[in-house]
């Protein structure tokens, strides 16, 4: 875990980009006007990450199975370096995520945050809230029936 403030905020936006639905991320990126020219430091590559669990939820780690992840790295013509590790196999999503990561470290950060990262995060939060509300509707409320010994 990063302890410094810049690392913590970068951790946040990279996590948002990794989890964001591909369609939403691409749509917002397509609508973003100030796309930079860039060079590949690493072209998009799809691979696997071994997901681990803990025995009993809290004990020692074990290998649960793999998930697909796509990664790439870019350098913008402004010299900003961006990385992406995103869930799934979409290379366009990884490319957009790496460029957004780069821009979030430069002068356009506030604009990228407002136009892309924040809307993505809000969308995902809202989706989670709807899901939680559906789960809450299935929470059991027990009530006590007349007990035998009361008679």
């Amino acid at each position: 875990m990063p302890t410094t403030e810049p690392a913590a905020s970068r951790q946040r936006w990279m996590s948002v980009l990794a989890r964001a639905p591909e369609r939403d991320l691409i749509a917002l990126w397509d609508a973003f006007a100030a796309k930079p020219a860039f060079e590949w430091l690493r072209r998009p590559e799809t691979g696997a990450v071994m997901v681990r669990g803990r025995m009993g939820g809290t004990g020692g780690p074990f290998n649960l199975g793999e998930m697909t992840v796509t990664r790439c790295s870019v350098q913008t013509d402004g010299g900003l370096v961006g990385h992406a590790y995103v869930q799934g196999r979409s290379q366009p999503k990884a490319e957009a995520a790496a460029l957004i990561d780069a821009l979030m470290q430069g002068g356009d950060a506030a604009r990228v945050e407002a136009e892309i990262v924040a809307p993505l995060e809000t969308g995902m939060t809202e989706k989670k809230q709807v899901q939680a509300a559906k789960a809450a509707a299935t929470r059991v409320n027990f009530f006590t029936m007349a007990r035998g010994e009361d008679e």
Binding site: A18, P61, M67, T68, Q87, R89, A136
Partner: protein, 374 residues
């Protein structure tokens, strides 16, 4: 005698073409899309991801379509695909306590902190065919309720504070990986759990059932079953810190088992653990039962000779891709092996007949032996 044979290419090509036509089925019926499979056959997708050992719903849906719904064939396709992927690394262990629970039930505590959340379950349905689904189904909507973000702690953390539950002390040793080194025995619990979570649901279901019927002495309660999304974190080498690289759905089951104590352990509840990709409730319960049965040795219990206690038996036979490969390969050409067996049977029969035959000077027999071989 052995005759080398070659051929069949045309027959094989034509068989595959017919299989593709059969897969498509009646062309008057709309073709199934992989999006439809992912969204509407989600539990089949989950099983293929769990036993294929690769979390990717789109790929699992494609595999189900390609395999015409034969889930073991689909799992085979996913296993083959995953071997082509470079490994970027391993995640931080999932924090299942932080799961956004769609479902969370406990059979041991009615008033569990966080509540009993039924979620999207088949439980309490009447198992009557719903003919409305055979017509146009429409778009049903779930009810919602105000949801205060209450914490949903693991039930085991509540029992644990009283000391009546065997603890699961945290360690950070790197677990052995079955996809990188072959299974060998004795297999530690980390290897067993990896093997079980990708093992065949039907096989584990049968073994789990056997433990309940008395073929390994442990009476299990479902302390907790939870299903929901869990973030996956991984340390990124370029950055030197961890980010969330995604989010997966998982099912976690923890059983709590009666335990009178042994030479090495005090009387307490012991635990079985199941963790499976996707909404995979039956599998995770069965996994927890089998995990608990396999722990007999470390808990100082007696080996009663039950199948579910035999790690070599369980782990060597739970992988349905290995199993189907070996079971099904006997349908493939074994002409040479069979020819050899046939020759052997004929020789043994000749010898047996000769042993039973009357005295060697019997004329009829001699005549027969002089006939040319066919």
């Amino acid at each position: 005698m052995y005759v080398a044979v070659k051929g069949g290419e045309q027959a094989i090509d034509n068989a595959h073409a017919w299989m593709a036509e059969r897969r498509r089925g009646d062309t008057d019926v709309a073709e199934l899309t992989t999006d439809q499979i992912r969204e509407q056959l989600a539990l089949a997708v989950n099983r293929v991801m769990a036993e294929g050992s690769l979390y990717d719903p789109d790929l699992a849906a494609l595999a189900i379509k390609q395999s015409r719904g034969d889930l073991i064939e689909a799992i085979f396709l996913i296993r083959a695909y995953r071997t082509t992927l470079p490994r970027f690394g391993a995640s931080e262990p999932l924090d299942t306590a932080a799961m956004a629970c769609d479902r969370r039930i406990s059979a041991t505590f009615k008033d569990a902190p966080g509540g009993q959340i039924l979620g999207p379950t088949f439980d309490y349905t009447h198992r009557l065919l719903d003919f409305k689904l055979a017509a146009e189904g429409g778009a049903p909507r779930a009810e919602t309720a105000d949801s205060d973000p209450v914490p949903v702690p693991h039930i085991s953390s509540i029992l644990g504070t009283e000391g009546v539950l065997q603890p699961e002390p945290r360690t950070d040793t790197t677990p052995r990986d079955l996809t990188r080194e072959p299974l060998s025995f004795p297999a530690d619990r980390a290897v067993r759990l990896q093997s079980l979570t990708r093992g065949d649901e039907g096989f584990l279901l049968g073994l789990g059932y056997s433990t309940q019927r008395g073929h390994a002495r442990n009476h299990a309660f479902v302390g907790e079953l939870r299903i929901g999304m869990v973030p996956v974190e991984m340390e990124i080498p370029e950055l030197g810190f961890a980010i969330e690289i995604g989010e997966i759905e998982a099912t976690e089951c923890e059983t709590v088992n009666q335990f009178k104590g042994s030479k090495t352990e005090p009387p307490q509840f012991t635990r079985g653990y199941g963790l499976v990709f996707g909404q995979s409730e039956r599998k995770s319960i069965a996994m927890a039962l089998v995990d608990r049965a396999l722990r007999w040795e470390e808990l100082g219990e007696e080996n009663v000779g039950a199948a579910a206690q035999d790690a070599e038996f369980v782990l060597s036979h739970s992988d349905n891709i290995q199993a189907t490969g070996f079971v099904e390969h006997i349908k493939l050409p074994h002409y040479v092996d069979f020819q050899a067996e046939l020759e052997l049977i004929r020789r043994l029969r000749r010898e047996a007949e000769a042993a039973q035959a009357p005295a060697p000077d019997a004329p009829a027999e001699r005549t027969k032996e002089q006939e040319p071989a066919e």
